[in-house]
């Protein structure tokens, strides 16, 4: 199997696992996110805390032991200093998140669950991402990625 095919299968499976958990926890429902952000209910904060609480120490341990990943070589985590764009972009993201009541991955699950208006959210997301990419590529000739996005690796293409 070529690395590219392996990546596609891994991507599909982990995407499915991710989408499954999001839907199981009702994160695709506008009400769940709205109640969280209205500080009426803290389950989603606890959920995120639980996810970080499990993955942070495990990744730290694996990194310290120089763990080898299956397709990407030695495990390497990203730790970037804070830039203005992280904070400003984050604030814009938060405003949009509150208005549209869903974030990028749950929006896909929302549509898959039958909620038709989610198509508006998904199209809007593509437009917003594209606007920013158009702006950065005009300014620098390349798009940027941060620690929250997939890093570019030649083998992964």
């Amino acid at each position: 199997m070529t690395p590219s095919t392996s990546h596609k299968i891994i991507g599909l499976l982990f995407g499915a696992g991710f989408g499954f958990v999001l839907a199981a926890a009702n994160l695709h429902e506008y009400k769940t996110i709205h109640d969280m952000l209205s500080l009426k209910e803290f389950d989603v904060f606890l959920l995120m805390g639980g996810a970080i609480g499990v993955s942070l120490p495990l990744l730290a341990l694996l990194e310290r032991n120089g763990a080898k990943t299956v397709l990407g070589g030695t495990l390497s985590l990203s730790r970037s200093p804070v830039k203005r764009q992280n904070v400003v972009g984050g604030a814009l993201f938060g405003i949009g998140w509150a208005l549209s009541g869903t974030c990028p991955a749950p929006a896909l699950v929302m549509l898959a669950s039958g909620a038709g208006l989610a198509i508006i959210t998904i199209i809007g997301l593509f437009i917003g991402l594209g606007l920013r990419d158009a702006q950065t590529s005009r300014a620098t000739g390349t798009a940027v990625t941060g620690d929250g996005e997939h890093r570019e690796t030649v083998a992964a293409r």
Binding site: G11, G15, A16, F18, G19, V21, L22, A25, Y30, K31, L37, S38, L47, G50, A51, G53, V54, S55, L56, L58, L59, L62, T69, G73, L75, S78, R79, P81, Q85, N86, V88, G90, L92, F93, G94, I95, A98, G101, P104, A107, V109, M110, A112, S113, G114, A115, A118, T121, L125, F126, L129, L131, T145, G146, D147, G148, E149, H150, T153, R157
Partner: protein
């Protein structure tokens, strides 16, 4: 509905650690964070056949929807074709008309996409994967979007 195998809502103390394990598992296969913003970007490039598009992320994008559908089908209510966004549309709640609600959602999504790309990630990328990598940039972005979202929701709730 296939059958009600899943509860109406999986509690956070199961869903949270499950997401955490998926993040670690994805790192151990691909040495990459499991963020959704990058998946959108590369899916758009793959569909438009832009040279250098990372096509496996389009599989990840599709996987999210398929996995979500599978979970929904295992719940009692199952797949229900509907508008969604009940809080915005319900007469007892915000009672927005469909065009107004659609405009709010659309503008919100554009701002969200622009902001996610500027920040270098979203709730999954920065909020879970970046924080789990102990990246200062991700912690800053996460604190920023959480605060902005709570403040925005406070204002939305005044209507």
């Amino acid at each position: 509905m296939i059958s009600a195998v899943l509860p109406d809502r999986l509690p956070w103390y199961l869903a949270g650690p499950a997401l955490g394990l998926l993040v670690v598992g994805f790192f151990m296969f691909t040495n990459q964070p499991l963020g959704a913003t990058g998946a959108y970007v590369e899916t758009a490039k793959t569909v438009r056949r832009v040279p250098g598009a990372v096509s496996w992320r389009a599989f990840y994008f599709v996987g999210i929807a398929l996995g979500g559908l599978a979970a929904v089908l295992l719940k009692e209510d199952g797949f229900v074709a509907r508008k969604g966004y009940d809080v915005l549309l319900d007469a007892n709640d915000m009672n927005l008309s469909l065009p107004v609600a659609s405009a709010v959602i659309f503008v919100g999504a554009i701002v969200m996409g622009y902001g996610a790309r500027m920040a270098g990630g979203c709730t999954s990328g920065h909020g879970i994967c970046g924080t789990a990598q102990r990246s200062p940039a991700s912690w800053a972005a996460t604190i920023s979007f959480m605060s902005a979202a709570v403040v925005t929701t406070f204002f939305v709730n005044q209507f």
